[in-house]
């Protein structure tokens, strides 16, 4: 035990006293005081940037030759740094051409129907932001392909249903200006959209191409990037990658506009290969490739204007190194468009892509035939994201395999959806930060660590999230005029009621038993007649908290 164990300090009682008497919300006050609106910013409101749906770039297709592959098993944790493999064969062509991957056209297995409510809850948690009450029940037993397509093939622009998001004061959010409003603006979309997979994919791309406003320092540019990610969420990965490569927030974040022919900056060059498309330590590229790729990417500039910040992002040929570059053994006068093409046509890209994408949905690695077929699907569709996602969402491993820990923001959105609450406070931003995930602030360019969401402080923060979700609908045990909560409610009825509050989640049998035991035993000392109603109200509140913060609700 570390020093200090003998005198753990505690002002606990004071806070508990204040809390139980309902007179204090210390944490909320504290954090609200911390919020600051940057009035000097020119933007008063977030401008909605409408990006046209990204069209699939015409990538020349070659017939995919069935080839045997023996992909090595990968764990999800290792997806970002897959194991070393043999050095790739070097394409001989002078211009980058799509590589024929070691892919298989064999059909990818699909889950044996019929689906249950539990299967549909998992789908809604992993491909969206949790079910609304009754949603999973309505989908159970429906043809799986139809259900998946309803997520992966949305028609037209999304519809946001329900009241617009507001700050605590009732004022509209200012996501481009106010600290935390950006987080809440996106959380609102997650809650209200009728195209949850689009938001979930945007969330994945935010982690994949992790960009933090801590380095960009311009919330509007972060929102612009977010819209770019959303527009390309299910399109061509090549096109999305290209859009990200010239995205202003990314150009600032990874020094793209500091990269010119006189002083090449390798930051983006390295990460576009290591984190975005190929993976480290696989023999996919050399240090020479990194420096040559940096030269390939030169030419982007921006101005800095006092009071405005970074602006006027543009490609300036006079800043571009127009001499020959050799990347992956191919020599040419490459530019940034070639840089993206070189990466996605690299023989080790498809395996990186499908393995990494898979890991966001399924905790166990795909088996060899599945991996090969997914690569075939990906390349034959012209780097299509949607077909790969559709295959993953119908794969048996998705439904039969073990649980995933739900990311903090997804947990927050899911509780709000289950309880039917909309964004009427910006507390979610600091609560998200406490829980380990503040949107637009990933910890670094490799994104969040999806394998280590829960510890003693982040679980505590999830308790706080659940508590804030209930703060307008908890049962007041001590209302003026006395409690009217049913004084004869049985423990079974209390548990049913608390489960219904969260849309009837599915708990494991032993968790359910543990909570049921609590519901039964916690009132054994309440014998006086006056205690019956208020104590049952307290029990109801406690049951709701125990359900929402149970280990079962942290996974899906």
């Amino acid at each position: 035990m570390a020093p200090g164990a003998a005198s753990a300090p505690a002002q606990l009682a004071t806070a508990v006293h204040a809390a139980v008497h309902g007179t204090s919300k210390p944490a909320r006050k504290l954090h609200q005081a911390a919020k600051h609106k940057a009035k000097a910013k020119a933007h008063a409101k977030a401008k909605a940037h409408h990006h046209k749906a990204v069209k699939h770039k015409a990538v020349p297709k070659k017939k995919v030759l069935p080839r045997k592959v023996t992909p090595k098993p990968k764990t999800p944790a290792a997806a970002k740094t897959p194991p070393k493999v043999a050095a790739p064969p070097k394409p001989a062509a002078p211009k980058p051409t799509p590589y024929q991957p070691p892919a298989d056209t064999a059909p990818i297995p699909t889950f044996s129907e019929p689906t249950t409510v539990a299967h549909m809850r998992r789908l809604l948690w992993r491909a969206g932001f949790g079910p609304t009450p009754g949603q999973a029940e309505a989908l159970a037993g429906q043809p799986l392909q139809q259900v998946v397509y309803s997520l992966t093939r949305p028609q037209g622009p999304p519809t946001l249903t329900g009241p617009d998001p507001v700050e605590d004061s009732g004022a509209p959010l200012a996501p481009a200006d106010a600290w935390g409003d950006d987080h809440c603006w996106w959380l609102d979309r997650m809650i209200r959209t009728d195209q949850p997979l689009i938001e979930r994919m945007t969330f994945i791309w935010h982690d994949w191409f992790a960009t933090s406003n801590s380095g960009v320092d311009d919330q509007q540019q972060m929102l612009d990037q977010n819209n770019t990610l959303r527009a390309g969420a299910l399109g061509s990965f090549h096109d999305l990658f290209l859009a990200v490569t010239t995205d202003p927030a990314m150009l600032v974040w990874l020094n793209g506009t500091s990269n010119n022919k006189w002083n090449p900056n390798e930051n983006y060059a390295r990460e576009m290969m290591e984190l975005f498309s190929l993976g480290a330590d696989r023999g996919a590229y050399t240090e020479t490739d990194v420096s040559e790729m940096a030269r390939t990417l030169t030419g982007w500039r921006n101005d800095w204007v006092s009071g405005v910040g970074n602006t006027n992002f543009r490609f300036d040929p006079t800043y571009h190194d127009a001499t020959a570059k050799t990347v992956f053994g191919q020599t040419g006068n490459w530019s940034y468009t070639d840089a993206v093409q070189l990466c996605v046509s690299h023989p080790l890209h498809p395996s990186f892509f499908v393995t990494k994408l898979w890991s966001y949905f399924v905790p166990t690695p795909p088996d060899a035939p599945t991996l090969a077929s997914l690569q075939g699907l990906y390349t034959s569709s012209g780097y299509g994201i949607q077909p790969v996602v559709e295959a993953i969402l119908q794969h048996p491993d998705f439904y039969d395999g073990p649980e995933l820990v739900t990311p903090p923001v997804v947990y927050n959105a899911g509780l709000l959806r289950a309880a039917g609450r909309y964004i009427d406070t910006t507390a979610w931003a600091w609560l998200g930060a406490d829980a380990g995930q503040q949107l637009f602030y990933p910890p670094n360019v490799s994104g969040w660590d999806f394998t280590r969401w829960l510890d003693t402080s982040t679980l505590m923060a999830r308790w706080d999230i659940a508590n804030y979700v209930t703060d307008q609908t908890y049962v007041n045990p001590w209302p003026t005029g006395g409690s009217t909560y049913p004084a004869t409610e049985t423990s079974a009825a209390a548990l049913s009621s608390a489960m219904a509050y969260w849309g009837n989640p599915i708990l494991s049998d032993d968790s359910q038993q543990c909570i049921a035991d609590f519901a039964h035993s916690c009132l054994t000392s309440a014998t006086a007649a006056w205690e019956q109603s208020p104590y049952r109200a307290i029990r109801q509140n406690a049951l709701r908290m125990l359900i929402a913060t149970s280990p079962d609700m942290q996974v899906s």
């Binding site: 035990m1 020093p3 200090g4 164990a5 003998a6 005198s7 753990a8 300090p9 505690a10 002002q11 606990l12 009682a13 806070a15 508990v16 809390a19 309902g22 210390p26 944490a27 911390a34 919020k35 600051h36 000097a40 600290w179 801590s214 905790p363 073990p402 649980e403 995933l404 820990v405 910890p443 280590r452 510890d455 003693t456 402080s457 679980l459 505590m460 308790w463 508590n467 209930t470 703060d471 045990p477 968790s511 543990c514 909570i515 035991d517 609590f518 035993s521 309440a526 104590y535 109200a537 307290i538 509140n541 406690a542 908290m545 125990l546 913060t549 149970s550 280990p551 942290q554 996974v555």
Partner: protein, 463 residues
């Protein structure tokens, strides 16, 4: 909180500082020419400091993980019993030096302070200059001064003085008259002498980091109220709370069919273990806390007495703290209603500091701890009919058994004011910093203050 009068400038400053600390990142200047607050650019990360059951927010050092820090803290703890400690306590808003040590013996005092003036004889005389009288609310300081444990700066400041809360506070925090500097003076000291794996070396007893502790290379930390580590929920009350929390823990010890389940169960179980650990420090009546303090702390003063008690407990546990920062009780920006506000805030602050000093003495820690009380400026000598407006030279104190007990500079008198009719300074805060660095921390001041050579070195410690 009797903070009846906060000027707009002050509110902005506070907001900006807090905003930066909370966001951990560069907020824009809110007015042209306003300095970027120190602390900008540090990333904040939280983890649980297991030994105290308290939440730590760690700033800087983004590459290191919590486990790394715990190792570093454990390592550094071995050396802690011999290390000097500076506890810096900031009086927010610019405390009225002329009401802390009132120049009741100055012939101009009564005329300049018709409303907020103190009556001669109403408080203890300052034994080093009988023109000055301690505010009765600061009797605790008089007591420690009489014991030779208080080094007084009766008129400390800098030239040219700046009357903006924000700017002046920033100067004090960074140790330079430079609005563009973003690391604090204690932060740079820790950069020069600290380690990469001990965030406790610079510790704010607050929810956010003090800008004076902002570093550029080594980690530092803020520890929120230990009370933050608790499970409470709306409408969950006795007699059910305890059993509900127990159930929360029981859910953590059930079977886990997958790694994800195991992570969730383990987190719940560990959370309940920490809660249980802390429960032992809550007094039996459930309303008081217990830091094993050998002396009583005052109950008035919000979180401040408890923060000092916690700090003493941490130091007693040999946690490797080098620089700690706290903020005194309430606001000292007494533009109106000064008498009431100042008496309350000064009194509660001093009473808690006296208890802290007694605590350190009782625990045998007093010889290695120096307490610094400071504020961004003093206030205007002429009162405004209800309070006092922003001024120039103010007062600061160094408290500890090792403090010289001899004042630095003298009270300049009210006859010779500056062009803005403010008190002139007779000591410079940067000279105080230089002497603290060299005499207390045995560190070359030029490593911390680039212009250290240009300042005198007042004697701060007993020889």
């Amino acid at each position: 909180m009797p903070d009846s009068c906060s000027c707009r400038d002050f509110n902005r400053s506070q907001l900006l500082h807090r905003g930066v600390a909370r966001a951990g990142q560069g907020l824009p200047s809110i007015e042209p020419g306003m300095p970027t607050p120190a602390g900008t650019g540090l990333n904040r990360r939280s983890f649980l400091l297991r030994s105290t059951g308290a939440m730590l927010s760690v700033y800087g050092a983004s590459m290191l993980g919590p486990r790394h820090f715990l190792e570093g803290i454990t390592e550094a703890s071995a050396a802690a019993p011999n290390q000097p400690v500076l506890v810096s306590i900031f009086m927010e808003g610019g405390w009225d030096a002329m009401s802390v040590l009132a120049p009741v013996g100055d012939p101009l005092y009564a005329a300049m302070r018709p409303v907020v003036g103190l009556a001669p004889g109403s408080g203890p005389i300052f034994t080093e200059d009988d023109r000055l009288m301690w505010n009765p609310a600061a009797t605790g300081l008089a007591t420690l001064h009489d014991e030779g444990k208080v080094t007084t700066f009766p008129a400390i400041g800098y030239d040219p003085p700046d009357e903006s809360h924000f700017t002046s506070r920033h100067y004090w925090e960074v140790g330079q008259l430079d609005t563009s500097v973003s690391s604090g003076w204690m932060g740079r000291f820790l950069d020069a002498t600290g380690t990469q794996n001990n965030p406790l070396q610079g510790l704010s007893l607050d929810s956010s980091l003090s800008p004076a502790l902002a570093t550029t290379s080594v980690p530092v930390a803020a520890v929120s109220s230990p009370a933050a580590y608790s499970l409470w929920a709306y409408g969950v009350d006795s007699p059910i709370t305890a059993e509900a929390i127990a159930t929360f823990g029981q859910l953590g010890s059930l079977s886990a069919p997958s790694p994800a389940y195991a992570q969730a169960r383990t987190a719940a179980l560990n959370t309940s273990l920490v809660l249980n650990q802390m429960a032992g420090f809550v007094a039996a009546n459930g309303t008081a806390t217990n830091y094993n303090a050998p002396v009583p702390y005052p109950t008035a003063g919000g979180d401040f007495p408890g923060q000092l008690a916690a700090l003493a407990a941490m130091l007693a546990d040999n946690l490797p703290i080098t620089c700690a920062s706290l903020t005194g009780v309430g606001s000292f920006d007494t533009h109106s209603g000064e008498t009431t506000a100042l008496t309350t805030n000064l009194g509660q602050t001093v009473d808690a500091v006296l208890a802290f000093q007694r605590d350190l003495e009782a625990r045998g820690l007093a010889d290695r701890v120096l307490i610094q009380l400071w504020s961004e400026f003093g206030r205007h000598p002429q009162d405004n009919g209800s309070g006092t407006d922003h001024g120039a030279a103010g007062t600061a104190f160094l408290i500890g058994t090792q403090a010289s007990g001899v004042m630095v500079g003298e009270f300049p008198g009210l006859a010779a004011l500056d062009v803005n009719e403010n008190l002139v300074n007779t000591s410079d805060f940067r000279a105080m910093y230089c002497s603290l660095l060299e005499q207390w921390f045995s560190t070359d001041a030029s490593l911390v203050l680039p212009d250290a050579a240009s300042y005198s070195r007042p004697t701060l410690l007993k020889s």
